[in-house]
Point group: C2
Amino acid sequence: MTLKIGHLGPTGTYSEAAALAYARAKLAGVESCLQPYPNIAQTLKAVAAKEVALAIVPVENSIEGGVTMTADTIWQLVASLQIQQAIVLPIHHALVSVAEDLSHIETVYSHPQALSQCQLWLQQHLPQAVRIADNSTTAALATLAANPQAAAISSVRAANLYQLPVLVRSINDYPDNQTKFWAISLQPTLAGNRTSVAFSLRSNTPGGLVTALGFFANRGLNLSRVESRPSKRSLGDYLFFIDIETDRYNCRQLKSALADLDAYAETVKNFGSYDTTIIEVL
Amino acid sequence: MTLKIGHLGPTGTYSEAAALAYARAKLAGVESCLQPYPNIAQTLKAVAAKEVALAIVPVENSIEGGVTMTADTIWQLVASLQIQQAIVLPIHHALVSVAEDLSHIETVYSHPQALSQCQLWLQQHLPQAVRIADNSTTAALATLAANPQAAAISSVRAANLYQLPVLVRSINDYPDNQTKFWAISLQPTLAGNRTSVAFSLRSNTPGGLVTALGFFANRGLNLSRVESRPSKRSLGDYLFFIDIETDRYNCRQLKSALADLDAYAETVKNFGSYDTTIIEVL
């Protein structure tokens, strides 16, 4: 049986590269096929609806931070999505265009995160170009061959796939740019060195967040990430996404910390425990 | 002497509306003039460079969350920017266009936050339209009169200023949409019911964030907001922005909590203590 893996498309995105890296590292011998989706929310909904067995979605970037659509969607979906693996990818953005040189470029297309990750470079080298926010870094590539006034911020790999020239390499503002992806499915995950949980608090609990985080800290469990997102109920009302460092030695402490959180918080979603694969070269 | 107030331009932005509301509420009798800037970073840099006495910048929205450019810039600037006041504005987005109806619209311009705040509406009513991320909600308005295939997400106030028709009112996905702005200057602020601080931790401190937040919680000081941003050093390394509820009864506790944080954290920036003005109707 072929395993279907959903990712943000069209072909050539960093999400697709992460999906290929995941299949290579973790699904050796399993026949798999990739299924692109037009945006991150639809990719996650495809897992919930069992259209695909697995989805690969970006979670956070080392420069621009959390991918808000991923956090907001996994919180909102009723299905209990579970993280199977984290995949960390090095990001090297390139300016892709058939233009002869930068002076001809009037518009630059990419995903908002990629545009942000190259904002200083764009300000310096293409101050007059209009920046167009696409759903992905590759959405515009199919139209670039016919448009010498346009460019896209994408990867060298994507440029090769679309047979387009790379005009400038390595245009990220910070050379050490990485993105973390999650491989998500409906299968429960129980073991791994990282556990991800999201929760909302009953409103107006004084010291509420510190109390909630204390359930973990007081048991010697370290938090490697805390991110807040608006609950969308009112200004100042948040959800919290936390990653907890875990291993087989402290799973009893984790269980009791989670039980305390369950009793204290309004809603808790446990996205499971998983390991991280770091990809050095694509 | 005329007080210069910088804000994200061009004229008509929500930042300008917040600046006008601030001047009305807090600068009665003071002659002031508004100075638009092309992006948020330049607005804040203008205060640091004393080009303007005050800047009004968006901080967070009740639906889309933190405005990352504001957080990243006030952290990076060497000048000690101080928050004088928070201003909360109701946000009612409108679709502005000279098009006869929605079927003619091929592109929609706005600030990325506004595009995100209307993403469900756009998906449903303008699924084929290209979304263009501008530096502000009003950057495209000057060109709309000549372009019946284009629309902008902006306010009714901005449409009136540019003498453009409002095609659809109230297109935000969540009707209860508010944005908080900060009025920022170089003048030290010492009193108010909210205190904003940002800090980075020495790397690999286990339980570091909980320890840092505990300095406040253990003294009965409530945190109304915790937001993490990448330090841009490496994936998993963060800065934290916190808002502390304060009043004249607990300023001694605040002082000692901040002293503990100063000793414990790597870098601490105190943006001052201030009150909040809530604007009901623009």
